[in-house]
Amino acid sequence: MLKRRSFLIFTSILGLSSYLNAGKKSKFDMEFKKVKLTIASVQEHMFPKGGLLPYAKDIKATQFLYETINHKSYDRDIKQFIIDGANEFICREGSGFVSMTESEKEKALRSYEESKRGEMWLNWIMTLTMEAMFSDPIYGSNIKEIGWSAIDSYGGYPRANKRYIWG
């Protein structure tokens, strides 16, 4: 099996990992604030307006991502990897990714995907966005079951009345 933790922590080519501080909420909030717009922009490129699936911005996918990786049930290494990967991507592309044209964004993301680490980061962003879209509406993103409606597939009953079973 892949030694996930070792890979995530020690392969950061830019040495940006602040793993030791990962548990500190305020530190995390500061780190997330720096990368939030970039992550949102990536999500919106992956799940754009006018497609068959909901637009990432319309379902508040970035807020879902923030709340999800900040929840105690979320793997702390992947949480840090989300931040590190975003920082790495920003370092590669400069801070201008958010203002690029769609074709420039596509080129930048495909370029990042060429590295194993980049592919992994993009995969996590996509996974978290799809979790936002298709999880129970109680998590705040599958608003009025918009994600489920798009694919005509609905969750079972009873629906959740608390996030993560007991909050």
Binding site: M1, H45, S135, G155, G156
Partner: protein, 573 residues
């Protein structure tokens, strides 16, 4: 009644019970049910929380994608030892993410099972006698026969509740009743297509018995067909979990003290008796001891072994109940694998697509034709069981299957089109193969000398290696199954038979047998060394058969409980 240890002491003066059970899953529940019904005072210890029916929502994120009903792997974990480039390498599961926990809540993993129930075949009890020695495999006959377990299989049908429709088959074990106590759960029209296709191929499709009530019984409702069953708890009470079928009625006797949030660190013993269990309250971290006349370990195979190793003392320096040196050895899983194909809207035959995509209904079809194989070319060998089902209906995981094409991530409008097409114009039909995981010298549990859990106890190290025969059998059956899917008109059929174990189907490690030098437990699942110590979970199994274990675990635990009742009666007289 859920009370604290302090309250118990208030009530009884001392936390002393007739029987203390460690673990509330299938086996712990069956023992608790039997003993409390017989009037004995029982403490049932469970590391996890007690969830009510209402809390068993169909929340994919919580139940299937996060460690909510299992421990956080950074707190509690195993190390898994696999052979990498010719060397054994142990990897903690917090690194791999490969959790070996299975439902740490009251009722254990029985809450989350799919409930596809099959009895072992009589020849599963005498595999060595029937098929002889296989090089590299430690196959032995069981010390008991199918006939001894049969009344308890029947008992499970009644008490836990098994629905089905018996169809005679050459490999169906004999029953003492003509049919199941309840008719099958409602079925999807795909069953017609399966049966027709199997018939065309000369294959017998049988109705899968399920530990799911099709109609209400004893305060439990019949199935409400929620579309999400396996991996989820049941909110109607229909699923025959230990919590619903056994612990709930045991609590009603007033004889059961259910103690959730209790982690058992170790057992104290003299040479002859277990005297107490050291428990930690997982919420307060307060440590206490609990005493009993008899102790029953039912913590799931690998964890029961770990507890016995962690209970080593001056009398048993190599682990409690381990004078044989067999503790932890011959861990087994379920061998086999799975395959899938797609039934497309535009090429579906014999049934309507709108019927196919009707949600919530069961497929309930299994094939026993290859349970024993006599092949003109390959000869005679033990085969396995096939279950046919839909792909799990989880929405997030099904959607995520569309994110790669030609090794590259897909996103944007193309991703949306792929997902919508996949979710609305086709339905995946799946087969799962269950064949023996042959016990061998490189599949066992020990303690990891380098890793401890958050309670300071050494974690279990699982060395895992499958026997080549397991793969041979799985591949043989998978090729047969592929033909069924093809006959059904499925497209893009594939299968994967691997030596990666399903961590929820684990057994062995505390073999039972008549020879104290070669087994941990006697035929009653009582320690050869310590008379008041029983192990009731699947760890007793020397071989696993070719079906999921749960029915056999329930049945054997009822059998063991009857033996304990006899001891307690003798003691009280």
């Amino acid at each position: 009644m859920v009370v604290t240890l302090g309250q118990i002491k208030d009530i009884y003066g001392v936390s002393m019970y007739d029987v203390v059970i460690v673990g509330s899953g299938a086996s712990g529940g069956a023992v608790a049910y039997t003993l409390t019904k017989a009037g004995y005072k029982v403490a049932l210890l469970e590391k996890g929380k007690l969830l009510s029916r209402d809390e068993f929502s169909k929340d994919e994120l919580a139940y299937c994608r996060r460690d909510i009903v299992t421990p956080n792997l950074f707190d509690e974990y195993h190390t898994i030892e696999e052979k990498v480039n010719g060397k054994w390498v142990a990897t903690p599961t917090y690194e791999s993410g490969w959790s070996f926990w299975n439902g740490n809540i009251v009722g254990g993993s029985s809450n989350l099972m799919s409930g596809m129930f099959h009895r072992l075949h009589p020849d599963d009890f005498r595999l060595r006698s029937k098929y002889g020695k296989i090089d590299g495999a430690n196959i032995v006959d069981w010390p008991i026969s199918y006939e001894e377990l049969e009344p308890y299989y029947t008992k499970v049908e009644e008490i836990v509740g098994v629905s089905g429709d018996f169809r005679p088959h050459r490999y169906e074990p004999k029953r003492s009743t003509p049919n199941f106590p309840q008719k099958p759960t409602e079925e999807n029209s795909v069953t017609k297509l399966i049966e027709k296709s199997c018939k065309e191929l000369g294959i017998s499709a049988l109705v899968t018995p399920r530990a799911i009530l099709s109609s209400g019984k004893n305060g439990r409702n019949g199935c409400t067909y929620s579309n999400f069953c396996g991996s989820y708890g049941c909110s109607s009470g229909a699923k025959g979990s230990s919590r619903e079928a056994l612990i709930r009625p045991a609590l009603a006797t007033g004889n059961l003290t259910l103690l959730p949030h209790k982690y058992v660190k170790k057992l104290y013993s003299t040479k002859d008796r277990v005297t107490s269990a050291v428990i930690v309250d997982t919420l307060t971290l307060k440590e206490e001891q609990i005493e009993g006349y008899i102790f029953v370990i039912s913590a799931q195979a690998h964890e029961s072994v770990r507890l016995l190793f962690n209970s080593a003392n001056k009398y048993y320096p190599n682990g409690l109940a381990n004078s044989s040196g067999e503790l932890g050895k011959n861990l087994i899983f379920s061998g086999g694998g799975a395959g899938e194909g797609e039934l497309h809207k535009d090429s579906l035959k014999d049934i309507e697509f709108k019927e196919l995509i009707k949600t919530g209904l069961f497929v309930n079809r299994s094939i026993l034709d290859w349970y024993f194989i006599d092949d003109w070319w390959r000869g005679k060998f033990k085969g396995g069981l096939v279950e046919i089902m839909f792909q799990h209906q989880n929405i997030i995981s099904r959607s995520l299957q569309n994110t790669y094409s030609d090794g590259k991530l897909v996103w944007g409008k193309e991703l949306g089109e792929r997902i919508v097409d996949n979710m609305t114009n086709q339905k995946s039909i799946r087969f799962e193969i269950f064949n023996d995981w042959l016990p061998n010298d490189n599949c066992f549990v020990s303690l990891d000398p380098n890793h401890k859990d958050k309670y300071g106890m050494p974690v279990g190290k699982l060395r895992i290696q499958a026997h080549p025969q397991d793969l041979k059998v799985g591949n043989y059956i998978a090729k047969k199954c592929k033909k069924i899917l093809k006959q059904m008109g499925a497209k893009n059929i594939y299968f994967d038979i691997s030596s990666t174990p399903p961590q929820n189907l684990v057994a062995g490690g505390c073999r039972f047998g008549d020879d104290p030098k070669k087994s941990v437990l006697n035929r009653d699942c009582q320690s050869h060394d310590i008379a008041n110590l029983f192990v009731a979970d699947a760890s007793f199994m020397p071989t696993g058969g070719s079906v999921a274990y749960t029915w056999t675990i329930y049945a054997n635990a009822f059998r063991v409980a009857d033996k304990i009742v006899k001891i307690l009666k003798y003691k009280n007289n």
